[in-house]
Symmetry: D2
């Protein structure tokens, strides 16, 4: 059997580059899966072509910093604009997942991930969670202890280059998991309609 | 003792007028309290004067429609812009409360109210909840069964004039409760510093 | 190709029978899918055999009334006891979904569903959401407007026989969707290991 | 004016002692406020006398470990049992706040605090948030970055004696803040009815 090709879009906004680091790690994770292609979509400059890529993707991974307890205004503008897709349930049955960053270990990041799940639920998407026990050190995946998605934490006075290795590993793991899951579903759907 | 004067700002965004109806009811509720003044602040057109009014208020009631599972992008832009106040904890100890509307009875409105509480918490504000048992009919306060704030529901194909009486009563009750609570705190603080 | 057989366990607690009505509808929905078997697990009387059934299931649908803003104590006792499975990630990659009931239209049911998603996420399960636009009448699926799972509402002074048709249709739809999704995944996994 | 006397009850459950450490710090914080008395109520062994103390308190601070994404079953049993108070709105207008502990920095603790706010909202209580900017080190208050309440984190293989100083300072600060706020309200109410 030839390898199924699935596409994963990483739809994100980054304020100062930390979330971009996470997005890049998600992308690497996706690409490590045979038959999976990855592409990032910057939400602060959405083109019609970007929307078309999202519409065509097997999976969308949502990413945003956590600002004042939720995703950034750029993300929320994108979410509201997606209501057009919602009316027609055009993203129904796509795979979805999410990641977020903030300056504190907890930092209300969970509220952003919860919002992502509510948002994806409205679209009828299938939410992929992390299958990682909590880590111990800054170098361990899931060192912050989150499961609805990948959390990254970097002190506010440090640049994106300081994102802890553990958080990037978490993001890469999420990308891998999403791609593998999307590939599984694509295989089965292709078979079902063969 | 002369009546303490407290000011309540209603900071809201409305897409099609339903949330404006709720805001007006909150305002009426505030005004029914002796010594309380109310003023609305439209978040889609924030001026420096508006920010000054928010800074000076004893209480801020946040309002927004629920779009795709959270507050509107206009509200989130306001929230992110308020981070400047957050750094200096300038809104600390103000009273806070919230209301939201959507087209379905549940409609993920609770997620918007939960977000409001997380947002107000970051500002160190004091959150006022509803003290209303659930209502039975469209004319009863709290007919939808919400407690973190006031919920309004109007079918999407009906205009603001169709907002059920019960939901407007809920909003008015919240305004009254916020104003009474803010007045109580103001009285005590005035006394403490006398 | 012979029909894939998948098993869906409905793990629920019901206080007064309303949630049982929803569970039965979920069960009917599952059974309407070719190759899917359904079984209910009453959480207030969990046996070792029940745990074994949950361990063996392809999908688990969680159900509980919403009491004071969350799932019932019986459900939470079950959830805490499942931590043994969590350590070994034994439920990882199972499909998960949820439903809840309460006496008000909104009634903080969303908080229970959000809790279910956080709980399922810790187990590394895949969360299935509803793909239903909001309904209009008591007879329509998703008439309450929820997407993280199926919501049922029945006034507190009415018995389980009064559960609105729309809510039972929502539950049946969820069961069907979970079974179809689980079958798809099982098909693909069987193929992948063939 | 003589000092107003207010009572703060700390209603909590602890599994292995970490949450007890936090409760003790909350208690110390309360006691540092002139005119405030503190008492703990262990939720795993609730007596009628305990319920009477809760009924009589000006403020109740809720505490629980976070197990599988929410408060412990002991806490949820208490919450469900409190529905009797809810019907009569007997805890209405009391001050409320919360704290939780878990083994990871984020560890879904926010979901437990969000649940506490929803629970307190149903009771019509007034929720007190933290007024603390995030800390930097293990010795700083609010080092984890939480605002809805006090978060404590201790690795699962370490005993209660290892609870970081910063988390205990956060808990003490919360106790102080709750007591001060409750005293302010009591002063004003006493005056209003004088």
């Amino acid at each position: 059997m030839s390898t199924t090709v699935v596409s994963v879009a990483i739809a994100y906004h980054s304020g100062y580059g930390h979330t971009t680091r996470m997005a890049e790690s998600v992308e690497e994770g996706v690409r490590s899966v045979a038959g999976a292609t990855a592409g990032t979509v910057r939400l602060d400059d959405l083109t019609e072509e970007d929307w078309a890529r999202l519409d065509a993707a097997d999976a969308i991974v949502f990413g945003s910093p956590t600002y004042m307890g939720s995703a950034s205004p750029v993300f929320h503008a994108f979410a509201a604009a997606s209501s057009e897709r919602w009316y027609g349930q055009r993203w129904k049955d796509k795979v979805a997942a999410g990641f977020t960053t903030s300056g504190s270990p907890s930092g209300d990041k969970l509220n952003t991930l919860q919002y992502f799940t509510v948002f994806a639920a409205q679209h009828g998407m299938h939410w992929v969670n992390l299958d990682l026990l909590p880590g111990d050190t800054e170098n361990d995946p899931n060192r912050l202890g989150g499961w609805l998605g990948a959390m990254g934490r970097c002190p506010v006075d440090q640049g994106p280059e300081s994102m802890p290795k553990g958080d990037l590993l978490t993001a890469a793991h999420l990308g891998r998991r999403v791609a593998g899951h999307a590939r599984l579903l694509r295989t089965a759907r292709t078979l079902a309609t063969a």
